[in-house]
Symmetry: C2
Subunit: 258 residues, 2 copies
């Protein structure tokens, strides 16, 4: 079922006119027809809709809002902090982590990031990542489009972390061998509030330097963890760790799901 | 540390001559120098080696075998059966699943596979996948290069499954909503021998048809499971499910690791 994110409020029993990019997509790209079913999502809630009118010429459709759809979102929030990596790796990371269920991604320029993102390129790059994220959210039937942000330095990272409220931060470090992610999650679950948000932190290709490691550990209280004895690429570590956290919380085909 | 897979036996205290493709890689691509450290892997055991001679002209190096290295392999074996998918998706799946720790991959031509693999293209395609796998195994510091196989029909799949011995098969199905992967693994762990191998089964883009679903369930005894309420792409489902299984068994940065 095609899924579209809207910014207008939706009410069961009423109709909604879908124009703009979404209307164009339905009418002219998908060539949707009257009576086809669609999923309409607004403010974290998805609705079943039925197409009642199609205006191919103007790229506009009208849908009747039939009923609410059950939530596909994880009740446990997991965020990713990802060191800026080369090429289109960030695109892939955002796409895959959105599918699995990440709630938001902060891309960070680190000391060992091989590429840098000049100030004037930041808005267009973040907009591009946000678009990839929205497409992945639609494809994977999410009710929420995760927010993609960018931080150039530690104060910006700290501000972003504080905006999340109560967090448990897991800093993946290939030089760590003592504390495994699984142990760290178990300790966190026993100590923190059940509503605490998990944050996974993954470095760029070259990893973290000592100053960064110390900052994450001492200033923001991250647990420095290993993801096991096999070395994961920067574009693999995030999706693996997010899968593990969501699995642990019963949000990846687990018995705790509604 | 560069890592190379060799087919000759290695003994601590002895020297080994590395020629062929590996010697070329060390001498001419990496331009390795005398006294540099390398990891030499044979028959599932890794050794620390020190380069003692480099012949750049002939692409040959000599290494002295210094000591054994601790295993990086999971003690729980997980295999992937992957429905043949379009484009270079299988390449990515093999690369990523090898990093995470898959023990072997069977690519299967299914009823809804959009691409087909003609008989005469099979050997070259499997050889190409095996090469991608070997590079990923080296990069992620594996002690074993997973074996990539191909099956065109159900008897070939069955033969491959039988070669694995005692298995627990998890068939990922987006139409399933009752039994989650986590529940299925917990049931399996309580019922099966601790040495049973896990097999994750992922369909192509178009999913499975009813006949295939029935075959997996009734003929080979697979558990039909959901990976949760978000829809994962075919190239995402395998790595997510393998991460979950290895996490469950304490093989992804878990306390059970040696």
């Amino acid at each position: 079922m095609p899924r579209v994110f809207l910014t207008v409020p939706l009410h069961v029993g009423e109709s909604v006119v879908i124009g703009g990019e979404e209307g164009h997509h339905f009418a002219r790209v998908l060539r949707i027809r009257v009576s086809e079913e669609v999923a309409l999502v607004t403010s974290g809630q998805a609705y079943l809709g039925t197409i009642t009118e199609v205006d191919n010429k103007n790229g506009e459709v009208v849908a009747s809002v039939v009923s609410t759809l059950p939530s596909t979102e994880s009740r446990h929030n997991v965020y990713l902090v990802q060191g800026l990596a080369k090429g289109d790796k960030i695109d892939t990371i955002i796409q895959k982590c959105t599918e699995v269920g990440v709630r938001g991604v902060l891309v960070v320029e680190t000391n060992r990031s091989i590429v840098k993102l000049p100030h004037d390129k930041r808005p267009s790059k973040v907009a591009r990542w946000q678009k990839i994220c929205q497409e992945a959210a639609s494809q994977s039937q999410r009710d929420v489009v995760p927010e993609i942000s960018f931080a150039k330095n530690e104060p910006e990272v700290q501000q972003w972390l504080e905006s999340l409220g109560d967090t448990q931060i897991y800093f993946a470090d290939e030089d760590e061998s003592a504390l495994g992610l699984k142990d760290a999650i178990k300790v966190s679950r026993s100590q923190s509030s059940p509503t605490a948000t998990s944050v996974i932190v993954v470095g760029p290709e070259g990893g973290w330097d000592d100053a960064e490691r110390t900052w994450w550990k001492s200033t923001v209280g991250a647990s420095i963890v290993t993801l096991g004895r096999r070395i994961l690429r920067t574009e693999t570590a995030g999706i693996v760790a997010i899968s593990a956290v969501l699995y642990e919380y019963g949000e990846l085909g687990g018995g705790d799901e509604p």
